[in-house]
């Protein structure tokens, strides 16, 4: 491994080793490291960024009881003060455009700017969802082409494009399964969910009205096939399996699992959130999957985080395709793409649809970005995405397994994520200390304490974005943190030292959350 900086040169940074006793400024800022108050603590009452006319005329008699008696408690800021407030806050944020974001539970990779250029083209960006079909042919072409790519890459029969995110896609898949069971008059109520599945899987199954039963993992972090087949029966509607699973491992028995579930009359849902590890290498259709959502915002690199926007199209087997939601695109014999809605669903042989997942076509901005990503990479490029993502994760795994315990390190190569536990940390040092230390090192922390099957889990997903130099810097930092823990360095227990705020009391924040700003709270009353 290369040293991150072979010459050892670094710019003079002053004394940052003891931040707390260093020079204090009158403003609280330190050059471009800005302190920022809450927006309610800024400005003055009565200040407003826009001119508002006084209302003219009488209030309609019926509305009089609703007249506001006290002014709205809005912060009083001018437009430049408001802009500065949010820009200053944004400088305290960490983003994929600032550095590696090894957040294993959510793939955070580079969003190529070409995608953004395509999505911002006025013909796509300014299109209204109710625009007449003949004025939106280009957008339908994008949806149709992307749908074809997704069906081809997964080896499935068809795809429902409308679900808005991963969990929404899971719900879509389970509603298809429910509709298929209803169509054959089969009242199966149980969905089996292995321990190695994503946490949203049991939640979705419960939300869709199924009862959830847990299937244990075996010693190398994969589904216990014997336990799963033993539980199958006439009451089991299906299984939800995350593959690659949340331990970062490929479920090698996937085909055997699918065959057993099908033989018992059930369906196979695959959580495809981790499809980025196998895209171009494995077709879920060949593994017997009946439904799988694809997180466009992960595998096909559309920006996300902080709750949106996502997009979770669901690919379906021939068994479930007849129940797919409306609307969807279909190319007519004359080559024109048609949007199939309720009025003509029967004419297109789709009268068994379970209904709708969304009002309109789906997440158009994500479709444009995902198709730009796919077309600019090509089939060979997508295969390399998976290969590089897996290679990078294995480089992390093998570069750290001598200082951090890798519970499944002996179970063969990992996929896109490297999983460690806190077993090798000395008494008194935890996964949280490593995560907080990583903030001081200038990285976003990895996923911590998930998956639950591993004690004190640290889940690292480098993605294909990072170069070897970037990985080496992350590895050097993590090795340094592991060494500090091993030497019981007390400064690691109080990390972060260099972040805008020191270690926060997460327990108090969860037990007594303050969700609404009030002057009394601000005054400490």
């Amino acid at each position: 491994m290369n040293a991150p900086n072979a010459s050892g040169w670094r710019p003079a940074m002053g004394d940052v080793s003891d931040a707390e006793t260093a020079l204090v400024t009158a403003s609280g800022d330190r050059a471009l490291q800005l302190e920022e108050k809450l927006i309610f603590e800024l400005g003055r009452p009565g200040t407003c960024g826009v001119d508002m006319d006084e209302p003219v005329g009488e209030v309609l008699p019926g509305l009089a009881p609703f007249l506001r008696k006290a002014p709205l408690a809005l912060p009083g800021l001018s437009e430049p003060e408001t802009v500065r407030h949010y820009t200053r806050l944004s400088r305290q944020n960490y983003a994929i455009d600032l550095g590696p974001f090894p957040l294993g539970s959510c793939t955070m990779k580079h969003n190529p700017r070409l995608n953004e250029k395509a999505a911002r083209m006025a013909g796509f960006a300014d299109l209204h969802p109710l625009a007449p079909q003949q004025t939106a042919r280009g957008a339908y072409e994008v949806i149709e082409q992307l749908a074809n790519w997704l069906v081809t890459l997964t080896g499935m029969d068809s795809v429902a494009m409308t679900p808005k995110a991963g969990a929404h896609g899971e719900l879509c898949g389970l509603l298809c399964i429910k509709a298929a069971l209803d169509a054959r008059g089969d009242d199966r109520r149980i969905i089996l969910v292995p321990e190695s599945a994503h946490g949203t899987n049991p939640a979705t199954a419960a939300f869709a009205g199924f009862a959830v039963e847990n299937i244990p993992a075996n010693a190398d972090g994969r589904v216990d096939l014997a336990a799963l087949t033993a539980r199958l029966g006439p009451d089991v509607a299906g299984v939800m399996i995350t593959n690659p699973n949340t331990c970062g491992l490929f479920e090698r028995d996937m085909k055997a699992i699918s065959d057993a579930v099908h033989a018992a009359g059930g369906y196979v849902y695959c959580d495809g959130a981790n499809f980025n590890a196998v895209v171009g290498k494995v077709r879920p259709g060949d593994l017997g999957v009946d439904a799988m959502h694809i997180n466009l915002h992960k595998t096909f690199s559309t920006p996300h985080g902080g709750g949106g926007p996502g997009s979770g199209p669901v690919v379906l087997s021939a068994a479930l395709a007849p129940f797919a939601p409306l609307p969807f695109t279909r190319r007519d014999a004359d080559g024109v793409i048609h949007l199939v809605e309720e009025v003509d669903a029967a004419a297109f042989g789709h009268s068994q649809t379970f209904g709708r997942m969304a009002a309109f076509h789906g997440q158009m901005g994500m479709f444009t970005r995902a198709l730009a990503y796919i077309l600019s990479h090509g089939a060979d490029g997508l295969r390399q995405v998976a290969e590089d993502a897996v290679l990078n994760a294995n480089y992390i795994l093998r570069s750290l397994e001598d200082v951090l315990h890798a519970p499944f390190g002996k179970a063969g190569p990992c996929m896109h994520e490297a999983l460690f536990s806190d077993d090798d940390l000395p008494e008194g040092f935890t996964t949280l200390d490593i995560a907080k230390g990583l903030i001081d090192e200038g990285f976003h922390p990895m996923t911590v304490y998930f998956p639950l099957v591993v004690h004190g889990a640290m889940l690292i997903e480098p993605t294909e974005t990072e170069s070897k130099d970037g990985l080496d810097r992350l590895i050097t930092s993590l090795r340094s943190l592991a060494a500090r823990a091993r030497n019981s360095d007390p400064s690691l227990k109080s990390a972060p030292h260099f972040a805008p705020r020191r270690r926060l009391d997460e327990t108090l924040a969860a037990r007594k959350p303050v969700l609404v700003w009030r002057e009394a709270v601000a005054a400490g009353e």
């Binding site: 304490y449 639950l452 004690h455 997460e506 327990t507 969860a510 037990r511």
Partner: protein, 123 residues
């Protein structure tokens, strides 16, 4: 008053046909700081092994399974303001709920204190 433990780390104290249920000290240590306990409704009926309540910690939300079948007669209302009782005194003041035992023979499958201590050692 005899105390029994489950492999899912619940304990139950049995007094006549009433059982008092909580999670073990080992379990609270594994969960870390408890932030909230979602207690069952009084009168709710559970079969043995059903999820009866949820304990939230800074690390995870974990189901607490009914160690026996029966109806909830009382819940530990002190936990609403002080969920940390489950951390500081898991096996006494941090109890979760009381249940009327529907079938006392279900206790036969559970472990006594010594057997549970052995069980935890093996984890």
């Amino acid at each position: 008053m005899p105390r029994y433990f489950t492999e899912e780390h619940e304990w139950i104290d049995v007094d006549g046909d009433t059982g008092t249920v909580g999670i073990s000290d080992y379990a609270q240590g594994q969960l870390g700081d408890i932030t909230y306990v979602d207690l069952p409704a009084e009168g709710a009926k559970f079969a043995k092994g059903d999820s009866a309540c949820v304990v939230d910690s800074v690390k995870a939300a974990s189901d607490v399974y009914a160690p026996v079948s029966g109806a909830i007669t009382e819940v530990n209302s002190a936990l609403a303001d002080a969920p940390e009782l489950v951390n500081t005194d898991a096996e006494e003041a941090g109890w979760l709920f009381r249940v009327t035992l529907a079938d006392a023979s279900e206790l036969d499958d559970l472990m006594d204190e010594a057997a549970y201590a052995e069980f935890v050692k093996g984890l």
